[in-house]
């Protein structure tokens, strides 16, 4: 099973002006592919902070995904941070500069050329119908912050990450968490390989607790589910998905 880390770059997120939706999208997609996201970090547009986080996540996880900070303005410094993390320079990529010129039909200005400067040794992967490719530096995938673009770019590379996906079962209960916690603990002791979650409702849902069981092994998952359903208090089960 491969692991991943996500780095969301953006003062606009930390200052509460914009809500990040990219990390939830990536977590969901990566989970479905069988990749285990182990950390999401939201950090400011500061080169040294980005470099330190990229270096640390790149060493700790199989794959790293960054979002944001790749446009033409003064606060777009993600590629500077990625280059610094690996001790390489940003270099003008002539193919990228040519693409930008073709796309707009005129010579790019200084700000636009900034988007053609990438870390030395970076790999470029075509992203479907987008005119800018995905920039990959070692195990770090650099995505834009705009959700529609990030999703298109992720779609274009995601098959590289496919492993054995998890199967997920959900049990919705009409009891409070504290009334079923001991049953859950006993089932988990018998099925230590199952990933068990227990989530009290967060709003006005019709259940009190959602219990989730996950495993890559279908039969094992089913056995743990059977034992759980048998042990839960009578009448507490609302539905199983």
């Amino acid at each position: 099973m491969s692991s991943a880390g996500i780095i969301i770059v953006g003062n606009e997120i930390l200052s509460g002006k914009v809500a990040d939706t990219n990390s939830h999208y990536l977590c969901k997609e990566l989970r479905a592919l069988g990749v285990d996201v182990e950390r999401v970090a939201v950090i400011p547009d500061v080169i040294d902070t980005i470099a330190a986080e990229v270096r640390s996540q790149s060493a700790a996880f199989d794959h790293v995904f960054t979002s944001g900070g790749v446009g033409p303005t003064h606060d777009d410094v993600t590629l500077d941070g990625v280059a610094k993390a690996f001790g390489v320079d940003l270099v003008l990529n002539e193919a990228l500069a040519a693409r930008i010129e073709r796309a707009q039909g005129s010579r790019p200005n200084e700000s636009q050329l900034k988007m053609a400067k990438i870390p030395a040794g970076a790999m470029l992967v075509d992203a479907g119908d987008l005119w800018l490719p995905v920039v990959i530096v070692k195990n770090v995938h650099v995505f834009p912050g705009i959700p529609g673009l990030l999703q298109k770019k992720f779609e274009s590379v995601k098959e590289r990450f496919r492993g054995i996906p998890f199967k997920l079962r959900r049990v919705y209960l009409s009891r409070r968490e504290s009334e079923i916690a001991e049953v859950l603990n006993r089932v988990l002791a018998e099925f230590p390989e199952v990933l068990m979650g227990s989530y009290p409702r967060t709003g006005r849902e019709d259940f009190f607790v959602m219990v989730t069981l996950e495993s890559r092994d279908d039969a094992y998952l089913q056995r743990s589910l059977d034992v759980l359903l048998e042990r839960l208090p009578e009448g507490s089960i609302q539905r199983v998905e």
Copy 2:
């Protein structure tokens, strides 16, 4: 100006089953209070990982806020992690145990008693009409993951954090970012103390770019706004807020 870090604990977020809304809420609220959020970390329900993140953020920032992992079940280990971060034990707090007993009118079971075990030396602050108080260990505020509860708890302590808040102005433009990037860079060079952001639209909004200017100093902010408006290309300004 004080700084803050946020730690969201929860496998359910990392595996994409649940979207975190607490960090956006806290970022927005803290910004309005004049507190600078410098990092959000989403990490799994693993004691050592929580301990390492708490230790690091507690040393780096004035205030730390955790969300999640404080219920009665096996995967609720945030307080274990906070205790480990500071090298103290979890101890049964008799006053908390008594509150739990009063609230439910019967002796708490083992799982419920788990919620009365807090790091030695923790401070308890009453949280309005909630029956469980806010647990504060050094500069770390431990909040539950359920948004309604987190918000009530934050409301009950937030006045402690109030500083001089930022003023924010927004300019909505009908030009692409690359067409105005150079103007922005020049204004920023003249007003280096202003915090400038530039955000391309993420969906079907009626503008192309939103530019934000922020400062704690009203007059300085207004001067930077006046200069920006004067320098922007004719006809590019849709509205100013």
